[in-house]
Symmetry: D2
Subunit: 373 residues, 4 copies
């Protein structure tokens, strides 16, 4: 699989770095583009103090000459402003976080060690790296966005008709929620949770439009695009569930109403009037918008902490309090976009070659022409 | 990652083969054990005719001497009885299946070509191969089973108190459903769907008990166990959604009630009284039972077919009818068990070494003793 | 990397199986083609009795319909005729073989366990699988062959002028040696070694002609084609050294005479009059013939055995005698061809796409046209 | 395979970064240790001007707390002092370098683009990253060093008796050559080559002592340690040949004198009196010193340039002159050490677990005790 990304960096270390290896030559990349997505990740009603401290900026260390990629690995640095080398040890693990399991696995007697790497601060590196993949996809008319469909138990239900309007509405909302009424109720939930020292989860939907049919494949289990996307989204901090389309609802629907009938139109193209499959059949994109949902549990760090046990003294003591947000659901959408971009770009390069943008464009155009054949 | 599995074989080819590479030496494997799980995959109310034709038997071709592994790749053959070399071409793609997208991607003008490899028949190879991983896990007291929690829109709600009873009840049910009343209603749904030429989906829950804390890790996104399990389960035919624990419900729960408080007991062990996390925190097992759910869409082949288009003539024509089942939700549970076994065994070998069972046992025992430290 | 191959099987087990995953759809494969290469592997002056027992035949289990690939994994079975389920234990490890190290690593007290999988019998599976890759390359005018350049200390020095003649001469020789005089002396060495119960090594050269420029890349260390070929050849049983071109001689040559000057000709093509680079510059093919050498140590099983120690009693006792050959250098050439084919096909599919032969042909032709631009 | 390394950075970009993912927790790492090896890479008689400009310093960005690893990715920055953002295009490719093939593959019309990433400057990142692996190995008593056995056609022939003395002599030599007389003659060759604008190649030997038996395995072709080391060494810039031990000489030796007889001693250990196998049998370490050789071609950039063709005008014009060295054979030894360290550490972690140093030490000690059993 052509594209690899390694991230490095801790929450209060000097900074983060994402290295993306496998990008073709000839892709134009502007650091402002990366900054814009880093900034989208930092927004969102319900974020705490750190978002004020960090104003993430990407620094591209390598892989570009004259503003375009040269097929070499692109590494992006994001420095931490809130950088503290040494802190007193923390011994009261927070339920739901890596604190206890990390300490057990790695023989740590200070939960700062697992905490530092397990922190969602790392997602800034994912967004930086994933934005490179997103840039590539955009060159082929693929757009990726996300919106919040549930937060604090409040469902968004009123959506604009078009994807364009949906994206605009989501971008205009400080909760990334396209349903204005629902967003207002979500904010009341956030305010209430803040008051009682609690946190909230929710569900985001990631949508990719303009995806050609034929990405991914059914020929081997680990090549299926649905599986690869599921891994990528599930790997985002606090994401515990992933669905293609509205899978858990479709599971309760009879087959006669669960699939998308196949039609053929004047433009000599197969198409569908529904998208129950969420754009994926048998692990392959079918040309319809790719729609995935990710369920996020509430943040594990509560101002009003849960019961826990000191890992040194073994005495009952509440989980540590680390500065945190009430909810990060909108931000998780942006991170999910980045991870979906990485996986999609990877399968795109598998299909159309991965050396140089001009060649890839030719392969892509020929393929699209053939499909219309 | 130490363990690799490749499967090969088509639905109506000569047979299937799974090759599992990376198993340690010294694991006792009995072919009856594989056959038992192959047979569990074939059971289930609502299966069609093919299950009567095929009585899958595993043939172990390699990797064993004297009934134990020698660290060499183990390959398992499952012959197809229903083997037909050549069939007339099929040109009416079934919505929801690989038929159309496969034909588009691979330039096929006969949807038998994608159909043959995309068929769920391939899951017999997965179960054969995954059972080797399951055997390994059992040696360390890890048990994996599944049960149906929803089918045809009917929810199972009454569960036995203990996991042992839950497993027994699921195994005793021809729907793998531990709730007898729900199972009866599910059967009525199956009968009704059969009558009207329809199909049904549902939700299975896969549970692994006896899993030690510390499998998987948060240190890099693609090493997280939740993500790897999500890929593995999502890769199963017709699975469209995956959740750790009851993730979509937890997403709507405030943080104060969404995590598992940490306690310490007389046996000098950390433990929890709840398992909202489904046994995974920060992508690592936490010692609680590992619980995952998978949502299966209804089978794409309907006796009363959906609208489609002939890929040669481009004329409207209903999707092809291929012999099929009304539902395969119970079977999907067995396949999900196999896939979860593979991933769990892989992370187990990463943690404790992968050369020889005796060494791995020593590492495991030392680790468990250290945790109780 | 698109192409994966797993092999399974032991020397005296039921048989071998190679599964090749990642082949595009639309490649015509004939089982006779595989048999021909299996047979080439079995030929060679100096082979012992087993070659008479086994007449390897490939059985294609999966991945073909109507004689062409369908993008599904192709698995090939090669049954062992000389199949013995149980044998008395062997406790005297042969120096140079896996016997002792395998027993130490895997806690075996019978060196048959490491011996069975470590045996060069496994190379039959590699040749079967690698021949699928070779077929693919041939469709693009790439031919791969090998010849023996040294055996038993005798160097071949007189080579035909053209690669075609070189290949023909090698194929015509029962030592795969194009230098008839040298071959006669090699045979005398073989006869003498046989008489004294000894074994012989040598050096083979693997040549690929018709390779386009641009396979492999310098952009990351593990993507370099020279490194990937080196791994593949070094992984062949008893191969201990690998060179691109005549690397060890070039290392002693000044730079002014060690590189291939760049010229441009009437056909609007860059070319070279020399090929000191062996067809690879900076880990990328440069359009010249790809030339690699592999040094093979003498076979480890000697009829006149070396000193060893019984692993149970710890007493001095000569290494076990297992039926074996005097030399297998010609066969190693065929195995190296198979491994080189796999790696080359893999990089070929990375560059030109991996879905379907017709698309790959179009990408390839466009690229070749562009180079002539 | 537990350990991954990605490097990024160009020759005249802002800097280089190596990210090493998969290191266990609890490894003590000192930045001076990395600097020492970076400095060893820069030394060597025959290096040109750049070595005076760059005094590489490692900056550890992540993965350490309190001077020890926390199982998180460790990223190391090495800034370029000789940093030039934009340069006039270069259109005359140097034979032997990536210039032409890179331009062809990636559609570049300026050979600075391939040159920048293909430059051996990148090896600084490999040494930085590989030194982390080396640190890990040292904790288990494994030492890795290299020495020059041939340079400019001059063979080193007089070696100290012990590995300790060999290492000391190599470290004391500004050619990393333990044979003082040979080194003097090598320098005369370097001086002569410099005078005539030429370059020189040679052969280095990399040695690892203290390696336990049982790293790597014969069970599958891509798990063999010899193959993985071959890839790693061959991937080093200008390395064109790799041998385990003195493989090309052994290939000409009869089997009776080509293997290492097995003995058993008072310390209840199997051992050998010879090391013709170079420490590897069947792709597994056998407890003897691991010895590998790498053949380096002369540097491709000649002050007295070779014939070439302008890629834009297609007119004959000599290859570009870029500041360069006469020879980099001693430096290549240090880079080969780094690459061998990476591969060895990877197999070490596969065998003994990869989570935390304390656990790995216990597994290792138990294994070594068992071997003496």
């Amino acid at each position: 699989m052509p594209l690899r990304m390694l991230t490095a960096g801790e929450s209060h270390g000097r900074g983060l770095v994402a290295t993306v290896e496998g990008l073709p030559a000839g892709l134009t990349v502007d650091v402002d583009y990366l900054d814009r997505h880093l900034s989208r990740r930092q927004a969102g009603y319900g974020r705490g103090g750190r978002m004020q401290i960090e104003r993430d900026r990407a620094e591209i260390l390598s892989g570009l000459m004259g503003g375009t990629t040269i097929a070499a690995p692109v590494s992006v640095l994001v420095w931490n402003r809130d950088w503290r080398l040494e802190e007193p040890p923390l011994t009261r693990p927070r339920p739901g976080h890596a604190d206890l399991v990390g300490a057990q696995k790695y023989r740590f007697d200070d939960v700062r060690r697992p905490l530092e790497r397990a922190s969602a601060r790392e997602t800034a590196a994912r967004v930086a790296g994933g934005s490179l993949a997103r840039r590539l996809l955009e060159d082929f008319g693929i757009r990726i966005f996300s919106h919040v469909v549930q937060l604090g138990g409040v469902d968004a239900t009123m959506f604009p008709d078009s994807f364009e309007a949906l994206e605009s509405a989501a971008e205009a909302s400080d909760l990334r929620c396209a349903d204005v009424d629902a967003a207002a109720r979500m904010k009341r939930e956030i305010d209430a949770a803040k008051t009682r020292g609690d946190t909230l989860g929710g569900v985001v939907e990631v949508i990719a439009i303009g995806v050609p049919p034929g990405l991914g494949t059914y020929v081997h289990w680990d090549r299926r695009l649905d599986g690869r996307l599921a891994q990528a989204l599930m790997s985002v901090h606090a994401i515990k569930g992933v669905a293609v389309g509205d899978a858990f609802r479709i599971a309760a629907t009879p087959g006669s109403a669960a699939h998308d009938e196949i039609l053929y139109d004047d433009q000599r193209t197969f198409h569908r009037e529904t998208n129950r499959a969420g754009g994926l059949e048998a692990g392959i994109t079918n040309g319809m918008p790719l729609v995935m949902r990710a369920a996020m549990k509430p943040i594990s760090t509560l101002r009003n902490p849960l019961r826990s046990v000191d890992i040194r003294t073994k005495e009952d003591s509440p989980g540590a309090i680390v500065r945190s947000d009430v909810t990060a659901v909108p931000a998780a959408g942006v991170v999910c976009e980045a991870m979906a971009s990485l996986v999609l770009a990877d399968t795109f390069l598998e299909k159309f070659g991965a050396d140089v943008m001009a060649d890839i464009h030719e392969s892509y155009e020929r393929y699209m022409t053939r499909l219309r054949g």
